[in-house]
């Protein structure tokens, strides 16, 4: 069985398998990654670091590419406003 780790997504405790990307953790937690200028919710499109639609705030740092970062224990991930 895969080992698991716990992080928070928009403040809610979330458990994911080790090796999960942040973008997938957002999907598991049913949260969107970023909000467009006109207020639309956005999530990963390409999943390979090109489209920039998966931008999230990780540990307070905005505009991180969720699809390019692996979850770590205790990580604080938030929808990028």
């Amino acid at each position: 069985m895969l080992s698991q780790l716990a992080l928070t997504v928009n403040g809610a405790p979330t458990v994911v398998p080790s090796g999960t990307t942040v973008a997938v953790a957002m999907a598991i937690a049913a949260q969107t990654c970023r909000t467009s200028v006109s207020g639309e919710p956005r999530g990963p499109l390409c999943g390979m670091g090109i489209c920039f639609e998966c931008r999230v705030a990780i540990n307070g740092k905005p505009h991180c590419l969720g699809c390019r970062v692996l979850c770590e224990p205790g990580m604080d991930v938030r929808t990028n406003e």
């Binding site: 200028v37 931008r55 905005p62 505009h63």
Partner: protein, 376 residues
């Protein structure tokens, strides 16, 4: 048909050409505008969109302040995408020597009823916490505005079109003068009045016009709401912007409504190609970080360049071109075309219709250049 279909043909659909189209149609003239590209696609799209009162000279002050007041009157009619925001400008003084310049500016603006406020070191930090500690202070000029220039140009052009102006995009002008515009494909448009509002292209269309390209770089960040609240410009900008020979950079940052930050600025003569020059870009960013170290933590979206239309005496050319009674100029606005577009259109329309302008027009007349040559 011998009768000309238009009273005025404007060459150039940048902010200046669009403002002229708007003003002329509102005065009842039949107007056509031609541009080889798009509405607001050249320097209008490349620049920052800073509606700023300047005091380099009495003539520059008169034109920028008059035009700023015209923007103020227009603001309630501007659509949301113009992003008009009266955020004010802070002229940042690094040291006590620059605070002397702050006080000189204060006295100058005070006499001319321009609302402003001197900031000491603490007040500056309170207003802009991301500036580095230890800066001497600054001058907050409260009525300065930022907006998004391409949408402003589009608004002005569409308003002109609603009053009957015709817009012809996608074809180049080959020749302009003696009451007709000849397009590259040979098509001719006759009109009593021709306006050369072609920006950096104006000199190519009207031989004898002295306008040089002055290249600039800008960079825009991702969205960081609240990081920056005012347009910030270093007072050293005046030194660097006035240099007519060497390349220069200055700290000049602008908050956008989206939370993005525009970072400038650079000035280069003799650079003809539009590619980003990484050396200049790095110098520009280093200068910005000297004032605002936290900029280094922000991610950027893109960098680009544009060309200002620079005249030898830093004032635009607005008025009749000597030797061709059909031809008028509205060009050479350097880095202030967004600010001064509305005033340019007003005083040009005043000249064409024989009305007295609200500010003295002599400093901007194209004939001044001819006079200088005569005395040289």
């Amino acid at each position: 048909m011998n009768q000309a279909a238009y009273d005025v043909v404007i060459v150039g659909a940048g902010i200046v050409g669009a403002a002229c189209a708007d003003e002329f149609t509102r005065r009842g003239m039949r107007v056509a505008v031609v541009d080889r590209d798009l509405v607001g696609g050249g320097a209008t799209a490349a620049g920052m969109g800073h509606i700023v009162t300047m005091d380099d000279s009495e003539a520059q002050f008169a034109l920028t302040r008059y035009s700023q007041q015209l923007w103020q009157k227009l603001r309630f009619e501007l659509p949301a995408d113009v992003e008009y925001e009266q955020c004010g400008t802070i002229w940042v003084a690094a040291d006590e020597e620059e605070m002397i310049e702050v006080r000189r500016k204060r006295d100058y603006y005070d006499k001319r009823m321009v609302p402003m406020e001197v900031l000491d070191s603490q007040a500056l930090r309170r207003l802009e916490p991301n500036l580095r500690p230890g800066l001497a202070g600054g001058l907050l000029v409260t009525e300065d505005v930022v907006l998004y220039p391409p949408c402003a140009a589009r608004f002005l052009m569409e308003r002109a079109q609603k009053l009957g102006a015709k817009l012809h995009l996608g074809s180049s002008v080959a020749q302009l003068g003696q009451g007709r515009v000849r397009m590259a494909d040979g098509f001719e448009i006759p009109a009593k009045i021709l306006v050369n509002a072609a920006g950096t292209g104006a000199a190519d269309l009207t031989p004898g016009v002295e306008i040089k390209k002055r290249k600039g770089h800008l960079l825009i960040t991702d969205r960081y709401a609240g990081f920056l609240r005012h347009q910030l410009v270093e007072l050293g900008y005046l030194k660097s912007a006035h240099s007519v020979t060497s390349d220069s950079v200055a700290f000049n940052v602008q908050p956008r409504r989206t939370g993005q930050i525009l970072i400038g600025s650079s000035r280069q003569y003799g650079a003809e190609h539009g590619e980003v020059d990484s050396g200049i870009l790095m110098r520009m960013l280093q200068r910005a970080q000297e004032y605002m170290p936290a900029l280094a933590q922000l991610s950027t979206v893109r960098a680009w360049t544009g060309f200002r239309a620079a005249t030898p005496d830093k004032l635009p050319l607005i008025g009749p071109w000597p030797g061709d009674e059909s031809l008028f100029l509205a060009a050479g606005h350097e880095g202030l075309g967004i600010t001064t577009s509305l005033a340019t259109a007003r005083i040009l329309a005043d000249q064409i219709t024989g009305m007295k302008a609200e500010i003295p027009i002599e400093p901007y007349l194209p004939s001044r250049a001819a006079k200088e040559h005569a005395h040289a």
